[in-house]
């Protein structure tokens, strides 16, 4: 069965009225049951850029979203929608008037999570026999593995993204944006990026791009097509 229970925790800060009384923070928990069929329907809004396969582009203009963790995807969608992650081009796509509200987001996120990943994503320049790869591995284990895990699978419940399978230029670009303060991220992540040199970051990102995608998460070949859309 593709239906499963899913809950999204929404933090809402009540608005200050024009009086001086500050309202307290309220937490509302809502539960949704994903509808995969509607998810496929909603994904048409995304497919033109992220491709029907969700594989993004090897030049890093678009990330591979197929197979990413549901809470990670949901966090990005809400962050962009609410202006916490600046992305002008994506912004109109995630507004309620375009994509729909929470139910639609949960449906589409569920659909994306279940898409098979590109089996030959773009990798960095240094392969797994190189010294650079070994240096990158060491740095990764020292700085990244405690959150993103040794194999790069991340942690869904903590909104820590899956790293394996992501296009090398995309990760390089995001790391660059974080360094320059152009993308807001978790302070722990920001702290780590800031203490590493450009060269060290490049070695880490290269290593990450060579992490293996588990067999069950990959499409059978790069020629696989999502027939929902052609």
């Amino acid at each position: 069965m593709w239906l499963f229970q899913w809950s999204a925790v929404l933090l809402t800060t009540a608005l200050l009225s024009h009086s001086v009384i500050a309202a307290e923070t309220m937490t509302i928990e809502l539960t949704f049951t994903p509808d995969l069929n509607n998810g496929r329907h909603v994904y048409e809004t995304c497919a033109a850029c992220h491709l029907p396969e969700g594989w993004g582009s090897s030049d890093g203009a678009y990330p591979q979203i197929a197979g990413q963790h549901p809470y990670v995807l949901l966090k990005q969608l809400l962050d962009i929608r609410d202006g916490h992650r600046e992305n002008s081009i994506m912004y109109p796509f995630v507004q309620v008037r375009t994509i729909g509200s929470y139910q639609s987001l949960i449906d589409v996120v569920t659909y994306i999570t279940r898409m098979p990943m590109h089996p030959r994503h773009k990798q960095g320049p240094y392969n797994d026999f190189s010294d650079e790869y070994r240096q990158g591995k060491q740095l990764y284990q020292q700085y990244c593995a405690s959150c993103h895990e040794d194999d790069g699978r991340g942690k869904d419940e903590a909104r820590i993204p899956k790293l394996y399978g992501q296009h090398y230029p995309y990760v390089m670009r995001q790391v660059g944006l974080i360094r320059k303060g152009l993308r807001d991220v978790d302070p722990v992540m920001k702290g780590i990026v800031d203490q590493l040199s450009r060269e060290e970051l490049e070695l880490i990102v290269n290593y990450v791009s060579w992490l293996e995608i588990p067999e069950g998460e990959k499409a059978p070949s790069a020629g696989w097509r999502n027939t929902d859309f052609y």
Binding site: A47, M90, F229
Partner: protein, 449 residues
Amino acid sequence: MSQKINRRKFLQSSAALAAASVAAPGSQASESGKTVEAPAIGRHFSSPAPLPAQKGPRVVIVGAGWSGLTMAKYLKKFASDFDVVLLDRKEQFVSCPISNAWIANQVDLEFLTHSYVDAAKNNGYLFISAMAIDLDRAGKTLYTTEGAITYDYLVMAPGIDYDYARIGVEDPEVEQQLRMHYPAGFNSASEVMAIKHKIENFDGGTLLMTVPTGNYRCMAAPYERACMAAAVMKQRRVKGKILLLDGNNGIRIKADGFRRAFSEYYADIIEYESSAEITDIHLEDREIETEFDNYQFDDAVIYPPIRASRVLENFRLADPASPQKEAAIDPYKYHLLDDEHVYVTGDSRSQPFSKSGNTAHSEAKYVAEVIIAHARGEEIAWRSPQTMCFSGVKTDPLESMSIIAFYKFDEMEKSFAFDRVHLMEKWSQRSGQAGLAWAEGMFRDMFYS
């Protein structure tokens, strides 16, 4: 019988006059010791343009279309020390992409219209409303109607002009009549407005629409426009047809989708003829000549082939060997082959990329990085521009289909070819909405944030 007014002689004599006036001023020795022609008209505009003192390396961008706007924004975003000046003779922007949806009332004019002042203010560069008049490359000076502007880098992103000669129209008066009465609608908002008005008031008979040959602006648009016009006619219950004459030997892009849309929704309205390249036009008889047939029309929207903006030719940057008079530039770095300080981007580029908004936007982001890298003595790896386009086929609500594609250099053909093409010809409301969201995101990116 139609009486053709031949003004060829008049044209020849005026061309000779123009040539004489350009050649008249003497030549000057430049800093590099090479002899260059003094700018002819430019000397009247040689006092400096009223700009604030230059702070960092200055990039002057001619043309505030999709390419120029994106370039200006990302130069400032990636290198805040750069001094960026964007120039356009118009004072506001009206988008050509999505204008077919406006024709069919799926968006309003406000959706397409944006202010250059907002763009400059929100993104930290300078916009001036002026016309580029002449260029002195040796002196790195651009002459404009607001005065002379010196540059470290010049980006020419002036867009396109129509080439009526390629449909057999050589008489300037006939060309003027065509521009006035049967505008193509790919170069200014007033042209699109005229077409919208035409379609809303069409009261029967044959409405002729044409598809040019060559690499024209927005490959899918003439077919989409036929669908949008047909949808309006259907709604107004006009008894008439759209004759879509295609100079090519078939629908150029999304062919299955458009064929299906023509037959499923507009079988009684759209009549499509391929391999119908226009060879002559008789305005008085409202008749168009193609190689095989002549066609009568009651009203028309005539889209001639296009070429790079004439300003490239005026600035002696056009490659005489180029059929669409584009500049000879490095296909990866976009600078002139003999000048690493002058770049040509957008629809005036010489690479055979799609002449469309998303292509220009993604390309300009890359070229901004190329220029910054050049200024810092670095190099960056080539990235393909990305072509993305949504085409509406049905209205109320809008339903669209889409394509996304990249390019790669084909060593055998010695040219760029499509790479990684994803064609989604199943149209839907979701895709229709996505197309509008795409445009909104682009406007947001270029103007507001």
